[in-house]
Symmetry: C2
Subunit: 456 residues, 2 copies
Amino acid sequence: MVQKKRLVVIGGVAAGMSAASRARRRNPNMEVIVLEKTGYISYGSCGLPYYVADMIKDHNKLIIIPPKIAREKRGIDVRLFHEAVEINPSEKWVKAVHSESKERITFPYDKLIVSTGAGAAKPPIPGIDSKHIYVLRTLTDGVALKSYIDSGVPQKALIVGAGYIGLEMAEAFRIRGLEVTMVEMLPNILGTMDAEINAIVENELEKKEVKLYKDSTVSSFEANEAGEVKGVILEDGRRLEADLVLVATGIKPQVKFAEACGIQLGPTGAVAVNEKQETNIPDIYAAGDCAEARHLVTGKPAYIPLGTTANKQGRVAGENAAGGKGFFKGIVGTAVFKTFELEVARTGLSSVEAEKHGFNFVTAAITDKCCAGYYPGASAITIKLVMNKDDGRLLGAMMVGQRGVSKRIDVFATALYNKMTVEQISQLDLSYAPPFAPVWDPILIAANIGLKALKK
Amino acid sequence: MVQKKRLVVIGGVAAGMSAASRARRRNPNMEVIVLEKTGYISYGSCGLPYYVADMIKDHNKLIIIPPKIAREKRGIDVRLFHEAVEINPSEKWVKAVHSESKERITFPYDKLIVSTGAGAAKPPIPGIDSKHIYVLRTLTDGVALKSYIDSGVPQKALIVGAGYIGLEMAEAFRIRGLEVTMVEMLPNILGTMDAEINAIVENELEKKEVKLYKDSTVSSFEANEAGEVKGVILEDGRRLEADLVLVATGIKPQVKFAEACGIQLGPTGAVAVNEKQETNIPDIYAAGDCAEARHLVTGKPAYIPLGTTANKQGRVAGENAAGGKGFFKGIVGTAVFKTFELEVARTGLSSVEAEKHGFNFVTAAITDKCCAGYYPGASAITIKLVMNKDDGRLLGAMMVGQRGVSKRIDVFATALYNKMTVEQISQLDLSYAPPFAPVWDPILIAANIGLKALKK
């Protein structure tokens, strides 16, 4: 009798559970063990802002595959509270520690998938360990944060970092009736996003009475005698009150112990993988927020951790670990989020990024309507294009508006995948009916204005 | 002094006014005359259902460029109530008749653009000339229909034809408080649309208390002594009451007098044009609902008259008539409409069309959610794909759901333009956030299920 092959998956959220499920479907004879350090697997962490906003009442709604289902229906051996701490690639085993019993267990493997995700690191600011200073990364984080709001104690929320998580949470906090202040270290919100888009988002924040301090660094947190946060001090000496702080200053790939065993990191600091999600070490794959992906616009490895990419990469890693032939071509950097009444989206490179990657580029921006101007509720939509001056190819698109942004950006994402020129985009046969688009879709208007900019 | 070149444009709605505006912008020295047989130019006829529904109060809101603006701001010599009746290509003139004075005027031209549009023909059914039997094609039609509803007299509307105009109008009539019955000659609604989509639309009609008779032909209309319609008799002898009838059985290109002067029609019966919108006769262009367009999936000429195509073709005809170098590659058959709570869309070929064009094809259908399942208001979305079994290429996509259909279809439209395989589509980096999509967008789920169907 042939012994069953064993796949060990480290991390049981998006990439990990996609990988485990796929491997079992591909090869039902394979033993699949998932080591998850928290008490939850397979949850939609992108739903956390809506859970905190109380639009979703029960955190169990965010769980896609409960452990019981994973075990009984999918035959996946899920081990909760098992934190992997060491990989030995030559002897092919992983060591994990049980977070309660502190027992150390060794799991031999035939194939290993590293899907350790990313961590929301609290920056080393004095006072950051005060009570009621949160990050929002895991379901555990979300449950803790919501429970504090539910207590009715907090009144003034302060968000450090004006990226998309910060902006989603600004809305969530306002829904919960809190005053909201945001502090952003950079002179602009949303990282590398272009100024035309940011101006509209900032205007929305103002309308919703969110105070925004840009170009402002938190130098310390103040706490009361009970150790509860009461405010922040900015570098310029200003003091802002807060009884709830959310630190949303970005995330970092969790790669420390993978790196320790010789798994190679790429230029971004995340695990380097090929199209098959293989790392440099035989039989070890990586997927999800701990791994890089190829950026199809630059052709270079990129680190843009998102749930969609994690799921795709996990699926490919699982497929291949189980003997299949999956591949993941890469990403074009598509992202969308909602903040208050606005949908904000991007794909490809922004101006700053095109500059950084050495493209000879031009840009064009337009504002038009999401639907026929005469249709009730028609609202504005702004599009900014970044284009390669040398060959007329689209490099990136950014978009903001109240409606019709989220899937419209996907036309540009599809265009980027196909390396379309702006002229080709101007020829697209896009859907039109008054409730959904003007007869010249804003995409086509942007492409036409883009063409003019290219010809200058 | 060089004499000004003169462009004459026949028809002043979408294609015609796009052409005229473009020509003037391209060459401000060109004289541009637009002959329009009705009293209106440049209106959004696709908005007529919403005007009749009284969601748009004033018909002037549908007018994009009023004649005064066209004349004063764009320098276009608009002649209302001028019906072109004859073209003489050898002597290069057009003859028009003024609909009131009956005066016949001859307009010499250097360049001519035929944008005569399409007509909603009333079929030759006994009694069709009774009062209160309408078509909905021109703004004049819409004003007459709405005015009758405004009178408060009609109670029971009957729509002949269950295509997209019929379905948009079913909603409009229900909004106005009318009972609605639809009679469709074919065994199915929506022409060549696949059954999975139609089943969902029919279910919606039932929910909204619209009575639908399929496989039913109207043999005559009944009128009272005053000549007002009172009902229809079906071929099987059944009688349906109605005091308002809308005939929405499709449209035909208006090409009679163009054909008479030797302008060649294509296999579809509309004017044959090349990528430059040139007809077979030198210096005569055609654009819009009277013309064909190349279907980029079949590679053959097609007749799918829509406002978007009309505008694009008009622009190219105007550009070229004024000495530029415009081109219009073609269409992929993208369309979307709203009926009650549903968005219904398609692009490329349906099963029936793939069959007709001799493709070796397979199909796949999925139903998933428009947004994250845990997000409030998540609703179902159904996608059907038609795929080329020989090379895995997408041939068409159809989609229906309450939200997120209209621009999602454009991803498939963009895929068709780029001749993408379903495997490539499964690799797309599409936008994701809980309010807008599940982490696996329905597009990706459909592509993955499609891949399985292709491998069978």
